[in-house]
Subunit: 144 residues, 2 copies
DNA sequence: TTAGATGCAAAGGGTTTGCAACGTC
DNA sequence: GACGTTGCAAACCCTTTGCATCTAA
């Protein structure tokens, strides 16, 4: 439980507003820098620092999600509806996976271990349809 | 598919050997630095760079897993048996969750989206038993 | 007027990498 | 002897932060 917040309330700002628009308007699970570049189209003077600060704030308020795939940078998701993800190991794209959450898994485990479970995430890994051809292509090349 | 490997084979090294022992011998999902400190007890001259290089190698060979929790550093798991994780938001500990994998989820989604799914991961979030008392304590303090 | 938000740039901090020396096969 | 591995330290790069200034309320 680490959180030494200092502000007592939140003011609205054009920067944060545009960032949310951008995030809600894409399904691409973008990085901070992608968001930065995108917002810059309407607010050319915004700084990366501001982007990061607002991403943190929006995340803390539950308006967006942060995803970690170990590629060095975080990805953000404007879709906070319950859903899972599919991570293509070919192109790196992250797809949303609709479908009912398995809340029963939470209950089972909470019961068995005596933990309180607030939520869970599921990540699928594999190769998306678009990448399948390309993969066989690459495999051929590697054989040379 | 990005991977410009250059070595044609792998030699064994005492460093990598000890690292694997350490990883297989703990259930704590340690960070690179923790592993470094641990290995240093028997190999005082090992360097962090070597630790990272071997972690990468072991991961690529499927002997360990890398986990990302957005706390700035990766965690590693010597247990490659299929299992899920529970992440305590109180103390930050990561617990293994035994139990049968939901392979049927993979099938459903592979079918629906036409993707090839190799595996999936599930992360549960909440508060572990040990932390529950402490949490109520903190909440009390915050009320002051 | 008050205190939160921003821009800018510097600082942080985990991870990667170049290179000469070393070790394994 | 060939080539993978290591130690060391510098380089990287994403993210955070200090501070003067701006701005919402």
């Amino acid at each position: 439980m680490k959180n030494n917040k200092k502000t007592l309330f939140v003011r609205k700002s054009r920067q944060r507003e545009v960032m949310l628009e951008v995030l809600k308007g894409t399904k691409s699970h973008p990085t901070a820098d992608w968001i930065y570049q995108e917002v810059r189209k309407s607010l050319p003077k915004i700084s990366l620092g501001t982007v990061y600060r607002n991403l943190k704030l929006l995340k803390e308020r539950g308006e967006i999600l942060e995803l970690h795939y170990g590629d060095g940078q975080s990805r953000f998701d404007g879709n906070t509806e319950n859903h899972y993800h599919f991570n293509c190991q070919g192109c790196g794209k992250v797809y949303d996976v609709e479908g009912p959450l398995k809340k029963d898994m939470e209950r089972d485990i909470a019961e068995k271990l005596g933990f309180v479970i607030t939520h869970h995430r599921v990540e699928f890994y594999g190769v998306c349809r678009e990448c399948r051809e390309e993969v066989s292509l690459h495999l051929k090349e590697e054989r040379l």
